[in-house]
Amino acid sequence: MFTDFYYILKKHGVPVSMNEWYTLLDALEMGLAGSSLTTFYHLCRAVLVKTEAHYDRFDLAFAEYFHGVETPEDLPETIWEWLDKNLPPLEITEEMRRNHKQLDLETLKKMLEERLKEQTEEHHGGNYWIGTGGTSPFGHSGYHPGGIRIGGQSRNKSAVKVAGERHFRDFRNDTVLDTRQFQMALRKLRQFSTRLEGPKTELDIEGTVEATSKNAGRLELVWERPRENAIKVLLVMDSGGSMTPYTRLCNQLFTAANRSKHFKDLQVYYFHNCIYDLLYLDPRCVVSNSVETKYVLRNLDSDYRVLLVGDASMAPTELTARGGIIDWGQFNEEPGIVWMRRFKQHFPSSVWLNPIPARYWEITEGAVTIKMLQDIFPMFELTVEGLDMAVKKLRAKN
């Protein structure tokens, strides 16, 4: 029955391995959870979850599995009054723990109903009536491992409650992120480029000393590859009107890319909805500050990794028609989609990052053009996970 929890964790996207699961079982055997649900919650989380980004998922899974301890709202006034009294702290002993069977919610509710009918006076302490302290499953400030708390402060705070409060929601890594997190994701564009390719041109001093010493003092030189990053990045960002809600997000990505000093080269261009003959040098997208797209294609080698950022949402004609360009007073000989294909053809390692969450791609206004562009570029949403996957994709190409 407990094994279900494992699958619920999996379902919520917490990557639990068998190793960790066995560790948890060992820990339970050693009695590390005591028999308090809260300690058990801490134990499970410490053993099974290895990044704060998954705390929220864990909380959801935990709440789903150990769900259902809530305070009924429609209780007679008098019961609230009985409960509104202070009381001495409660010592929980081993014996008390053993005496309590875990009750399921249905039984609890039924028992509470019956108890409500029977009870006629206030109770503090004791193990049966609704009241404060004591070990009856009903009331507050008392101890019952699976009781119903009625009013009062949660003293021995229920773990299901804690989990249900979702304190770690902000740490989820599929939500939108800050500059530093972007930088972290972009950093991964580095690791594959070190010491894997290129000639061995740098003297490895430590290696040389070691080899020479092993060689009884006769000099033996050891060479290694330089730790330079060969990655070149081209960032092309949509700065059209429909992108305005995402300005901050795009700024953060831009800042992160700019600060990531590990790229050998970083080029940034802007476009409005779709790429045509011109690429712009600043987000205002004016012709006076632009270069020809052909110039860019000619001058940048195809080993540039390309990150296209945009909502990919526009009128289908902007992609498919001659003269479909949205900017007044401009005309495009070739449809936007041709330019897009050309771009992809020149830069095989290209990905599209879309600030619109992926779950809306099929239902948003731009669904048609999103689909068309998805056929050309692998598309990811602009979140930590999305960027991670995009970076993985960019690395896989070579």
Partner: protein
């Protein structure tokens, strides 16, 4: 409950939450490394000191730098010294063990009593670093091929590892650890922490400071949010400077202690000049509390 569980209860100069205390005791009982992550200044390094103090054990600190290699924690074979000695012939170079120097991990293994080993800021090192330590941390032993000697831990050290999340740690490594994330303390928790460091602090000053501090942290444009240790420094500066509590929110004196980057100072000024209403609204929200 086993006897070993619940050993660690915190120490006099360190506030430990129930969750963290449980995590520490779980790690000790399961004999697994405890991996601690959290924002800078949330007391990750202090935790190891507190564990050592609370349990009365010696603390060995292995500070990780970007150039640190896993091997250095085990032992270093000083080949250069041996080569040098062999050329002058005034030492017995045939005994290699003279030139084997144990690293921090090795030191923790050969210690006659159980120690607390802190591997500080493991994410600073190369990406492969944690993987290189898997076997040693699992088995608590390593082999020195030069002397054909196996170093086995006399007492399994309590291993605490801290990380600032600069690099992702490998999954295989994570699987072997007990993990805890130290969340940034809320104002109530922060008061407790401040009390430990400055027991006699003026209450009014503390409240004003906390208000200003948590407000600063809510400004989205500030990249490097001030942390606990910066708040503590700031409080000290304010006490030494004899600043009256009334002036703190108005003038934010000694701001350089809290904000270390030019852009952040600019962002704050911009925020103050362009959106005064948000600040007023914020103050009101504090008053109605």
């Amino acid at each position: 409950m086993t006897k070993s569980f619940g050993e660690y209860r915190g120490s006099s100069n360190y506030i430990v939450s129930d969750e963290l205390r449980n995590a520490v005791n779980i790690a000790i009982a399961l004999q697994k490394p405890l991996l601690i992550k959290g924002d800078p200044g949330t007391g990750k390094t202090m935790l190891a000191q507190s564990i050592a103090e609370g349990l009365g054990k010696r603390l060995i600190i292995w500070n990780i730098k970007s150039t640190t290699k896993a091997q250095e924690g085990l032992y270093v074979y000083d080949t250069v010294q041996r080569l040098y000695d062999s050329q002058f012939g005034d030492h017995d170079v045939s005994d290699i063990s003279h030139y084997i120097k144990l690293g921090k991990l090795g030191e923790a293994f050969v210690s006659d009593e159980q120690v607390v080993l802190l591997i500080d800021e493991i994410d600073k090192a190369d990406l492969e670093f944690p993987n290189d330590l898997l076997w040693e941390l699992d088995q608590m032993s390593f082999y020195i091929p030069e002397t054909k000697e196996t170093i086995v831990a006399k007492h399994r050290p309590i291993v605490v590892i801290t990380s600032n999340a600069e690099k992702e740690l490998p999954d295989a490594f994570l699987r072997r650890c007990i993990f805890h994330y130290i969340a940034f303390p809320d104002p109530e928790g922060m008061k407790e922490i401040i009390k430990v460091h400055y027991p006699d602090l003026d209450k009014k000053l503390m409240e004003q400071c906390l208000e200003a501090f948590y407000w600063l942290r809510t400004i989205p444009e500030i990249q490097k949010k001030p942390s606990t240790s910066e708040l503590l420094d700031w409080l000290q500066a304010l006490v030494i400077g004899g600043i009256s509590p009334k002036r703190i929110k108005e003038e934010l004196p000694f701001l350089g202690v809290l904000l270390k980057k030019n852009q952040d100072l600019d962002a704050l000024l911009w925020h103050l000049n362009n959106r005064p209403q948000s600040r007023i609204a914020h103050r009101q929200s504090f008053q109605t509390r």
